[in-house]
Symmetry: C3
Subunit: 246 residues, 3 copies
């Protein structure tokens, strides 16, 4: 049992720390792990593909506190989702859409009522963290409140996103495409430049761009001993073409 | 019970990790939360206003390990403070001044003696973390050693600081002014440009600067869908004017 | 008992969080501390001197999960080392060489077999973290598997490294030289400019470069109220000369 925190807050600043203080207050003894603090800023769609790729590596029973929430303070919904063996708490803006779609079973529930005053700008601390703590303590919502996760999924979003969703500190560029869904002979095309698949870095010449299946199953653009993001001028959100082998 | 760490160390580098290793060694089982690692560098005064704003969200009984300590290695004092329901450990340079002033009750004590060798440059690890761990384990200083926190407070510092104390990753600029102390009709003036109050981002046109009460009660300058720090050329320490309504 | 994580992953991105999720899954209740997340990127040699300097401040019994692993996916070895009172798990690329050399006793073992599928690019999560968790739970390798840590040490690496191994957020530049091994009158020479020793920052005029023994025993170049890395144009890996007093 652990609470995994997935946000676009960054680790700097007080936001992550204040959420964790609530988690430790309300769920003492439950470990809290920073799963990702620099999810695509203000972009629930790109974040949804990244989160869905990270989930399979979490222990069964984990609670995911997911906050990428540009609509905080508006009337966007809030949701708790039970999908396969894990729980998810956060805004109902599509952040959990791909988790839900890829799950064998999923149900959605209203978020537990906030225990105190709710600020206009920090529902992560005031609404979602207290709810995650209650789930981590074993509390469950009323079964009667369950609904199919219709509003959680985004039917118009594709099964795999042909865009850059994350650039890591080494300059590698993750796409929202699951490598297992691509033809092994397919090339990925970034700004008109095609890249072939390789198993790993040392399989291509120094300086050459390629793509490979990363440790979370996503197709990732990389350059052997270089920075793919710089070499290919890639930024989060950039479109990636798929050129299937003839 | 938790130890909340408030420093200007940054999360990069070994400093925060080494302090936490001491906390886990000396207070096993007590959770440690990074409350803020990028407090205003070398600036105990600005840090003091920020810390005081974050404290109300901490669970009762928390121990705050606060280290913004440009005078380390000099003869600046060191202090443990009991203020309302929490304890504070760190340098006696004003970092806890606003916490003390806003507390209903506060007492100051000498810091527990360091358990081992004390380096010249890292009292956070060698002096303050071991003391915080002892407090977290329930140990208390001799009551006879208590003194009024006269040296902890800084009588010449104002109750609210009309300066920027923090700029977050979204470019929002927090002031040291508590929003509840400002007239709702007041404008904040940054480099000659006035900004009115709004409830939250979506209440103003895209690109417009405004100020609002942030989740910790501070007046914060922001721009809807923009970066206030860039739009208004704000940096930590910049003075902010207050123009009351006529 | 704690697991200290030493990597070049950075805290951003999902890598550290995914390793920690494994640690909490496999060693529930054992605290995990980020000892250093920004070790010299792709540089096991510089990292080895930095790690060896940080180890003495760890509690006895700690498990160090050390991953600076540019050879991941190649046939570089993997190793578990028992050195004095601590365990180390990671790639057998010299990362633990200085720890081993400075230990009173050290033995090396093959890494516990990975519990599941092993990705080509993330042995930190798939191989080393599960092994660290087992060590943290008290499991030990077969004594018969022990060998002298011959392949772990790097006989051609010096006892102290006359290079910059880390630059911190204040612009201070750590060398791989233990201060206690240097003549107190020695000057350190960076790009032709000599710097004398001082006890700490306030002992030299503002703006003057000097070196001092940092809190981990390393010789560190600094500038009073300035950034040594900028003033002396220092970068990780730069060579540092030693000019002994006449």
């Amino acid at each position: 049992m652990l609470v995994a925190v997935f946000t676009d807050f960054g680790l700097e600043g007080p936001y992550t720390g204040q959420m964790k203080a609530v988690l430790h207050r309300d769920a003492p003894g439950v470990p809290v792990v920073d799963l990702l603090a620099d999810a695509p800023v203000f972009d629930p769609r790109a974040s949804a593909y990244l989160l869905a790729a990270l989930v399979p590596a979490l222990p069964a029973g984990s609670v995911v506190l997911g906050v990428v929430d540009p609509g905080v303070g508006s009337d966007r919904g809030a949701v708790m989702v039970e999908a396969d063996d894990c729980w998810y708490v956060g805004p109902d803006n599509g952040l959990f859409a791909l988790v839900v779609r890829r799950a064998r079973t999923a149900r959605a529930f209203p978020v537990f009522e906030a225990p105190g005053a709710v600020s206009a700008s920090f529902h992560g601390r005031d609404v979602f963290a207290p709810a995650a703590a209650r789930l981590a303590c074993g509390e469950r919502p009323e079964r009667g409140a369950a609904r199919a996760p219709a509003t959680v999924d985004r039917p118009d979003w594709p099964d795999d996103l042909d865009r850059i969703v994350y650039i890591d500190r080494y300059g590698n560029a993750m796409t929202g495409l699951r490598a297992g869904r691509l033809d092994p002979g397919a090339e990925l095309v970034a700004h008109g430049r095609p890249a072939r698949r390789a198993r790993t870095f040392s399989d291509v010449p120094v300086g050459q761009a390629f793509w490979y299946e990363n440790a979370n199953g996503l197709a990732e653009l990389a350059v052997n001993q270089g920075r793919a993001a710089d070499a290919l001028a890639l930024r989060p959100g950039d479109a990636i073409g798929i050129r299937d082998p003839r």
